[in-house]
Amino acid sequence: MEKILDIRDLHVSFKTFGGEVQAVRGVNLELYRGETLAIVGESGCGKSVTANSIMRLIPTPPGEIKDGSILFKGQDMTQLSDKEVRKIRGVDISMIFQDPMTALNPTLTVGDQLTEGLRQHRSISRKEADKQAMEMLTLVGIPNPVERMKQYPHEFSGGMRQRIVIAMALICDPELLIADEPTTALDVTIQAQILQLFQKIQKQTGVSIILITHDLGVVAKIADRIAVMYAGKVIETGTRKEIFYTPQHPYTRGLLHSVPRLDQKGEKLIPIDGTPPDLFSPPEGCPFAARCPMAMEVCTKVYPFHSKLSRTHDVDCWLQDERAKKYMASTY
């Protein structure tokens, strides 16, 4: 399978009055054509910063990509000029944001906002752009596109608006779609519909999707692979099966425990105790050590090695070390 995106050792920091926030600290991620990768993790772990970096949407200042590379189809996004990046934005890579209520400009018609990307990047007539926009509205499930094009965002419900945002993102037929919590602001029934829409679109267009969420229920439905982030690092990646059935990192296990499950009556949501570390001066060792029930002495001192458990399953945890395994085996 073709690797469409390859993020290597990405570091992103923000300069603030309190000091430098190291929001992303050496993220490695890859994405293959046509797959859906979910990025999960607690609030503040750097999911959005990672996603925004791909499109170079980090506000600079205060933010800065300090180190690393983001190879999109072989070219390094971090090295491109602003102008070159603009040719990729909205055309090859598109983005969908969390809150559909604020992602649309209230003073411009939906039609205008849908077609402006097309007209910017492709030299086509207004009529042709309108036609394509209406087809796109139909694809995302908005009836009466002719009238809807002339309406303003406030004339649509939240779910409808998210459909419009999706249509906007897809209009130039991108190869990569990044959706940053696209369903968080919607109510549950609408969430399911939007997820179905993603699946339908992926089937039709073959677009690769990065889906950011902290809702594991969403992940279970549509992700092919999952990357778990913690304190600015990806601490475990694997296929959906690997992560859900054989999670290795104690943090991943904790996350899975904190999902309310419908099939087990009465089981309560168990959040992981404690809070993530301060990203102004992140700990030297494993960032999860302070909260980890399995933490060993080495964990607080040295960041764990990267272990490959299968072709697809990677984890950063000292428990994978032979010595730890032996010790465990001898004590239990």
Partner: protein, 310 residues
């Protein structure tokens, strides 16, 4: 739309009526009358004059006559300048005052918005600090102080611009600058903060994610939204400029409406006071109405086009 406009129009009429009524009774509370300082007029002449201007009638009758004059748009003759009617004074003064006012608003708007946008784009940079320093000064210096300073420096000391009257474009520079600086500063500050706020909105990020150029994002996506608060305060600013014209016209000896208004009050020239006040308030209310409509056009969430409206 039509229904909304009609509704607003009725409000306008009611507002002007209330202002007119208040003016009438307040004016009658003013001590003195048009004739009492002229000791030379004898009793008979004075009574004659009062009868001529219906000043001997009961207040209610005068009030009705006054309302009639408003409805017929004929405010009658001036008492103090018997050769003039109030309408002829207004006809002469209004174009001059309007010229001063329109230039002031235009210049305040254009330079204020430009300054605010630049300051926001160069947020915390040198341009920002300079622009905001100008703005703070502009807001804190009253227009009559600025007017005297300008006359002193540019007209008297340097002699580059004429100090008074309204006879050529050069004559218009100082009064307009004096009157426009305050509103410009207010607009600049408001535009800056509103622009900064707008630039953090998700739809701006979305526009960037679409690959639009920075210029397009600012002009098409940010400016319209950022100007919304500016449009809302435009009514208040207009009122300020309007009252400002009284002072500025006086300082620069400009023969506008303000001059007749102030003279009218000083001389208890009742028809002039009433005529100019009604005219001013009708004008202001009309402007506020236009601002409202402009706001509705800018912001589609205000449903002018639908039945009822806000």
């Amino acid at each position: 739309m039509a229904k909304y406009i009609l509704k607003r129009f009725i409000y306008m009429i009611v507002t002007v009526f209330i202002i007119a009524t208040l003016t009438f009774f307040l004016m009658n509370l003013l001590p003195g009358s048009p004739f009492n300082e002229e000791r030379t007029t004898n009793e008979a002449v004075q009574r004659n004059l009062e009868a001529h201007y219906h000043l001997d009638e009961p207040l209610v009758v005068q009030y009705v006559l006054y309302l009639k004059s408003i409805v017929t748009l004929d405010f009658g003759p001036s008492i103090k300048q018997p050769t003039e009617t109030v309408n002829s004074l207004l006809g002469r003064g209004f174009p001059i005052s309007a010229e001063l006012g329109i230039w002031t608003i235009l210049i305040a708007l254009i330079s204020g918005v430009a300054l605010g946008v630049f300051a926001a784009l160069k947020h915390n940079g040198v341009i920002d600090y300079i622009a905001m320093t100008i703005a703070v000064l502009g807001i804190s210096i009253p227009n009559f102080v600025l007017a005297t300073l300008l006359i002193q420096q540019l007209a008297v000391n340097l002699g580059v611009l004429p100090a008074a009257t309204w006879s050529s474009p050069q004559h218009m520079v100082l009064p307009i600058v004096a009157l426009a600086t305050g509103p410009m500063a207010i607009i600049a500050r408001l535009t800056r903060s509103s622009m900064l706020e707008t630039l953090t909105q998700d739809y701006i990020k979305m526009a960037r994610a679409k690959g639009l150029s920075p210029a397009k994002i600012i002009v098409k996506h940010a400016l319209k939204n950022a100007l919304m608060p500016v449009v809302t305060i435009l009514g208040t600013l207009l009122a300020g400029v309007l009252t400002g014209t009284f002072v500025i016209e006086k300082i620069f000896a400009i023969p506008g409406m303000g001059k007749y208004f102030v003279e009218g009050i000083n001389q208890r020239d009742y028809p002039v006071i009433m005529g100019t006040t009604v005219f001013y308030s009708a004008f202001l209310v009309l402007m506020l109405f236009l601002v409202d409509i402009a706001y509705g056009i800018l912001d589609p969430r205000i449903k002018l086009h639908k039945e009822g409206g806000k």
